[in-house]
Amino acid sequence: MSSTHHPAFVHHFENLGEQKEAATFGMWVFIAQEILFFGGLFGAYAVYRNLHPDAFYYGSHHLNIPLGAFNTAVLICSSLTMALGVHAAALGKRTQIVGWLLATVFLGSVFLGIKVVEYKEKFDHHLVPGTSFDASQLHMESIEDPALLAKSQKAAQIYYSLYFAMTGLHALHMIIGIPIILWIAARAWLGQFGPEYHSPVEITGLYWHFVDIVWIFLFPLLYLIPKPH
């Protein structure tokens, strides 16, 4: 079997095809695990949005929707460049792989940069949960009922806890993803990938698409909450 002489072949597999299948399947299983990992937070989100609809509405009102929407577009573009990178890898076009991967890294960094701007805004407005949290920033005065107002002001902290937990965890996944893509790009530059072997590019692509899809759910759930009743 010629594929067993490929430099990337790891001896304990039967052949390169089995190695590639194992790697891809492993990434899918990992993604299943990731879905459940985010799932715990989505579950808590569902329970608390149901308990405190007003707090979630007013909390989300304070997020920067244009920036969030722009970031969504940036991430979708980065998925596209990633897909083009994987395509180039399948064709074995070295400079194209590197180009598309670097474009993906650039877009990912833009996303994170904008996220930093958004986080800083929240920090300046005392909307980071903890002792300095100040719900008066959320302009909930339009809630007429004082009891609901008091309840929502408390629960707003839960909204922001979930906001930071979910977007933070998502950002952490991107922060882990970017160096991996850079590493893959370096390997591509060294000419390690070709039509016969490019599964590292492929599974990195899978991971990156998963991270994007999580954001596609996070954006409407956190930013676009309609007014209750």
Binding site: E144, D145, A147, L148, A150
Partner: protein, 329 residues
């Protein structure tokens, strides 16, 4: 040495039902344990290896046997399920004529208040032969109110009211335990339940009247807090009429219907906006942090008793607790 108990006192109407199910399950367990033990040990001895060259036959299995030992256990667990659900329902459905007791868990004691306003700590006096409903909440962590002799237990969860009931059948002293781990003196959060003859109970209850009855205290609060200004009961009132409300379905502005139970009443005082009654504006202020758990229970007891105009206090459900505020810590 051998004079220790193997079986707990049976001192409530529920106890015999629970025990009947328990004995049924023990019988099933003994049957299957012996069956399996005899099968395994018997076969292992009968077919013990006599020579190293033995070549046992290849038996692949038997669909008939597989079905047998799938369906028979399925049938048995179905019977247990139905029976246990039946017992469970009799444990959660509170009889209408139950007298009421309020219990608040606080690390590490049970604070109990009777409908007359009489309070006790880590002791609970109840009459024999009368259903007693206990409404539970907690001031701090989760506790669990457990009386083994009655086979009843319920968690006391901060921020919500759970209820349980029992009817004692035997006078005497019984253990009261906290069954949910709550910290340092969890095992010290125990008390005694005294089941008394009704006469003795009445005497005990009337013995030292500690202030006003629960509902009486609630009525005073109702006036002091000027609840009556809105909850007047006439057509122009800004708040819903509360007389006769308890236990009835309430139609909400959201279109849902809820039952006006203790938890609903408490929530409506602490978080009035959570459930707005259809036809009313969300204008009631919150009383969270302004009323102690104890006062909340008094108010709830009073509102429960507002059945039509005349209602004697004995029938008015009671509530009780001595507790700081539930709200902002």
């Amino acid at each position: 040495m051998w004079s220790f108990p193997l079986f707990p006192d049976q001192a409530s109407t529920l106890a015999s039902k629970v025990d009947a199910l328990y004995f049924f399950l023990i019988a099933i367990s003994i049957f299957f344990s012996i069956l399996i033990a005899v099968l395994v040990v018997g076969l292992a001895i009968k077919y013990r290896r006599r020579s190293d060259d033995e070549k046992p036959p290849a038996i692949h299995g038997s669909l008939l046997l597989e079905l047998t030992w799938t369906l028979i256990p399925a049938g048995i667990v179905l019977v247990i399920f139905v029976w246990s659900a039946e017992v469970y329902f009799s444990a959660v459905r509170v009889p209408k004529n139950a007298i009421e007791v309020q219990a608040v868990g606080k690390r590490w004691m049970w604070k109990i208040q009777h409908m007359t306003g009489k309070r006790e700590i880590n002791e609970l006096h109840v009459p024999v032969g009368v259903p007693v409903k206990v409404t539970l909440t907690s001031e701090d962590v989760i506790h669990s109110f457990f009386i083994p002799a009655f086979r009843v237990k319920k968690d006391a969860v901060p921020g919500r009211y759970n209820t349980m009931w029992f009817e004692a059948t035997k006078t005497g002293k019984y253990h009261l335990f906290c069954a949910e781990y709550c910290g340092t003196k969890h095992s010290g959060m125990i008390g005694t339940v005294y089941v008394m003859e009704p006469d003795a109970y009445q005497a005990w209850l009337g013995g030292e009247q500690a202030g006003a009855s629960l509902a009486g205290a609630g009525e005073k609060l109702f006036t002091d807090l000027a609840c009556i200004t809105c909850h007047r009961g006439d057509s122009g009132a800004r708040g819903p009429d509360l007389a006769g409300l308890f236990g009835k379905p309430v139609k909400l502005a959201s279109g849902e219907t809820v039952t006006a139970d203790e938890t609903y009443l408490r929530e409506s005082i602490v978080q009035p906006a959570a459930k707005i009654v259809e036809g009313y504006q969300p204008i009631m202020p919150t009383f969270q942090g302004l009323l102690s758990e104890e006062q909340l229970l008094q108010l709830v007891a009073y509102i429960q008793g507002m059945k039509a105009e005349v209602k004697d206090e004995a029938a008015a459900p009671a509530a009780g607790a001595a507790a700081p505020s539930t709200g902002a810590r």
